[in-house]
């Protein structure tokens, strides 16, 4: 068995294709692996004809296989459908029903890609795994601690989805694209002659290709024989006055304006969803502003932790520009209070809060209700 085999997680997209091509050109011995995560034909109600953004479609497996063949590396498709449903799809559905807005990509990174998949890669003989994520891993020369930084291309930076990575996972992981911007990656794809060089970027959550999460949850419930009508309820304002009815709490996320179907003169936004009463609370935009919240299951990445109030920039959703805040530890080391200098719009339970010091990812946790 050769030493130093590198497993490349290949999605069939251009980024992971370039990773495989690039690392092969750098002389690494490579095995390409594609995870089969979800059967796209399983829920006919939410099938999409869109050419992009479909993970695990036969097209993507075909593309990944073509790339592997083009580069000349061994390639395998591995089945993670059961694990993906347990670790990602079910929590995704349950989070919505609990009035939160989940990030399945982070769950997948934490519990599938950098956990069981990384273990499988090691099992087949690969000491390291490379992915197409836009992020950078460095090692502190003094402490030996692995640190994470935003990618050079800040518009593509994916560190928001990677806050759950542990030291032992980072020790075995390579993000070869972290130092490139997307145009360079495209150019590399052409230079390497990759069949996926002009393939579009995926935009949506991979198992909900048409982006309609509520329809996915409805279809999944129908398949499981669960009555989705049970999540219907009232739309109320912040004073508790009933303004209308809704078809299920999973149709709403904090800050949402569309789909309320209320005939009121002023624009109203979802302020919160209350699973216990199945109420959706709406209010004016100002009601969405919030300065302080708690995060749980905090994972520290570039630093071992905090013991005193610490200044940081905090990002509360993928497209949010990190805002200055003070992190305050609590008696529970995995629970941290975030206090923004300026209140931020739509602090959404279930989303991640990722703490930065400049480009350095300090860590992150999950926003509490």
């Amino acid at each position: 068995m050769s030493e130093n085999l590198l497993a490349v997680a290949m999605s069939g997209g251009v980024d992971s294709s370039v990773v495989a091509g690039l690392m092969h050109r750098r002389g690494r011995k490579i095995v390409g692996l594609t995870m089969q995560l979800w059967n796209q034909r399983r829920l006919p109600e939410v099938q999409s004809d869109a050419a992009t953004g479909r993970c695990c479609s036969l097209d993507d497996v075909y593309d990944a296989r073509m790339v592997a063949q083009h580069i000349g590396i061994p390639y395998y498709v591995v089945n993670f459908e059961d694990r993906f449903e347990e670790q990602v799809v079910k929590p995704f559905v349950n989070e919505y029903l609990a009035g939160r807005t989940p990030i399945p990509c982070t769950l997948c990174n934490n519990f599938i890609k950098f956990d069981e998949f990384l273990e499988m890669a090691e099992g087949v003989g690969a000491q390291q795994m490379a992915t197409g994520h836009y992020a950078q891993i460095t090692q502190d020369a003094v402490s030996g601690r692995y640190q994470m930084r935003k990618s050079v291309d800040t518009t593509k930076d994916q560190t928001y989805f990677l806050f759950g990575l542990k030291q032992d996972q980072m020790a075995r992981t390579l993000f070869p694209l972290g130092g490139f911007n997307k145009t360079e990656v495209r150019a590399l794809a052409h230079e390497l002659g990759l069949p996926t060089a002009d393939k579009g970027d995926s935009q949506e959550i991979c198992f909900v290709p048409n982006g309609d999460y509520a329809a996915f949850i409805d279809a999944y419930f129908k398949e499981q024989g669960i009555d989705t009508g049970a999540t219907r309820g009232e739309i109320v304002n912040q004073e508790g006055r009933v303004l209308g009815e809704h078809a299920g709490v999973h149709h709403f996320t904090v800050g949402q304006r569309k789909g309320l179907r209320l005939s009121v003169p002023e624009p109203l936004y979802v302020i919160s969803t209350e699973p216990a009463t199945q109420r959706v609370v709406v209010g004016a935009n100002d009601g969405l502003l919030k300065a302080s919240f708690f995060t749980h299951d905090v994972n520290w990445i570039s630093i071992p932790g905090i013991h005193t109030p610490t200044r940081a920039h905090v990002r509360i959703r993928n497209k949010h520009i990190p805002a200055p805040a003070t992190l305050t530890p609590t008696p529970d080391p995995q629970r941290v209070n975030v206090h923004f200098d300026e209140p931020q719009r739509a602090v959404t339970p279930g989303q991640g809060a990722v703490f930065y010091d400049g480009d350095l990812v300090l860590g992150g946790g999950w926003i509490e209700n």
Binding site: M1, L58, Y76, G123, V124
Partner: protein, 372 residues
């Protein structure tokens, strides 16, 4: 890297002797077997020679052999063509039987198999109803190699006036087959499991068995299978039948014993005695079978687990589930199927590779706690 093939139940290479028969038919004796002229007559001769050779292997008359595109079509024709209202089959059949039964529109009774993987003829007897039209039980299982008591089951079928089909795709060429001794009315064969090319198969149809065609067109194959005959494919199948080399179980036993002796917590799936001599299916506790297949492939050894789906991802074997293995044990199981080119040295190399890969995977597996 040297590569060694231990997946002959998936497919076999074309043997040089078969290729010597196959290629000249494609390039020289290429006539349409229905044509009047010389070319057609030569092709017809090749086709009928192949039919005699195929018939001889399974002990039937030449006119009882229908050539078609492969094992899947043979199974489809047997099931669709007999138009049964009620079918009895087993839970461990190949998908080309299971899915065809489900599509055919008949009531289907799936007889269970025990942990041995063997069907109890009494279960078949109890499942027979007045409207039962067909019993379909595979001769040799593709995943665990168990040999079913076909003659006993066929006896029950005959006594009840029910047609008996057996999928013999994994049996023909591996174990002696005589359709009269077995007492079957229909028997499926595939060329590519016996060192002939993919794309050819045969269905034995006992004289007098009512069988409607699935394809309509010309009057080929005694009006049972329309379409210009694949003469080269048939000739290759015929040649393969005429040149069968029987394997004894020696190499398989060496492999199985070598692994079981050297690796703890390995069990043999399915019946130990009534087995095709080329197949062993082993469960490695605490090991993800999929990882083991990849690890072995990266070391140059081709083996398999379960049945592959269209994307190439592996799903747990319905056969292993049917013989009572928990899903985790099914996922920890591998099939090794040997062929005539495998050598003692290759088998010993495979044992070494399996030992190293299983040890590595178990070191990483939190689920594995040695029982030794």
């Amino acid at each position: 890297m040297n590569r060694f093939y231990f997946d002959h139940n998936a497919t076999t290479p074309v043997s040089p002797e078969v290729l010597d028969v196959y290629l000249p038919v494609l390039m020289e004796d290429y006539g349409n077997a229905s044509s009047i002229h010389h070319y057609g007559q030569i092709a017809k001769q090749k086709l009928e020679t192949a039919r005699r050779q195929t018939a001889q292997l399974i002990g039937c008359g030449p006119r009882e052999v229908v050539f078609l595109s492969g094992g899947t079509e043979a199974n489809n024709l047997a099931i669709f063509g007999t138009k049964p209202r009620h079918i009895i089959t087993t839970a461990i059949e190949h998908p080309s039987v299971l899915n065809t039964c489900a599509q055919q529109g008949a009531d289907v009774t799936y007889v269970p198999v025990g942990s041995s993987g063997l069907v109890d003829p009494d279960d078949i007897r109890r499942a027979i109803r007045p409207d039962t039209g067909l019993i379909s039980v595979m001769h040799v299982n593709n995943e665990i190699g168990t040999i079913q008591p076909i003659s006993e089951i066929a006896g029950l079928a005959r006594a009840a006036g029910v047609l008996m089909h057996s999928d013999g795709v994994q049996a023909a060429g591996r174990i002696p087959v005589n359709v009269n001794e077995l007492g079957v009315d229909l028997y499926s064969m595939s060329a590519h499991k016996m060192y002939a090319p993919k794309g050819t198969g045969a269905l034995y149809v006992r004289k007098g068995t009512p069988l409607e065609p699935m394809l309509y067109g010309g009057r080929h194959e005694q009006q049972r299978r329309a379409g210009t005959e694949n003469v080269a494919g048939a000739a290759a199948l015929g040649a393969a039948c005429a040149m069968v080399e029987w394997m004894d179980g020696g190499l398989r036993d060496r492999l199985e014993q070598g692994i079981v002796d050297r690796i703890p917590d390995v069990t043999v799936n399915g019946d130990y005695r009534f087995r095709s001599p080329n197949t062993t299916n082993l469960c490695f506790d605490g090991v993800e079978g999929e990882s083991l297949v990849i690890a072995l492939d990266l070391r140059g050894f081709a083996v398999s687990t379960g049945s592959a789906c269209s994307s190439g991802a592996v799903e747990p074997s319905h056969v292993l589930i049917a013989i009572g293995l928990p899903a985790q044990k099914a996922k920890s199981s591998l099939r090794f199927s040997l062929g005539r080119a495998n050598t003692v040295e290759q088998v010993d190399g495979l044992i070494e590779a399996v030992c190293a890969s299983v040890a590595h995977l178990r070191r990483l597996s939190p689920a594995y706690i040695s029982h030794v």
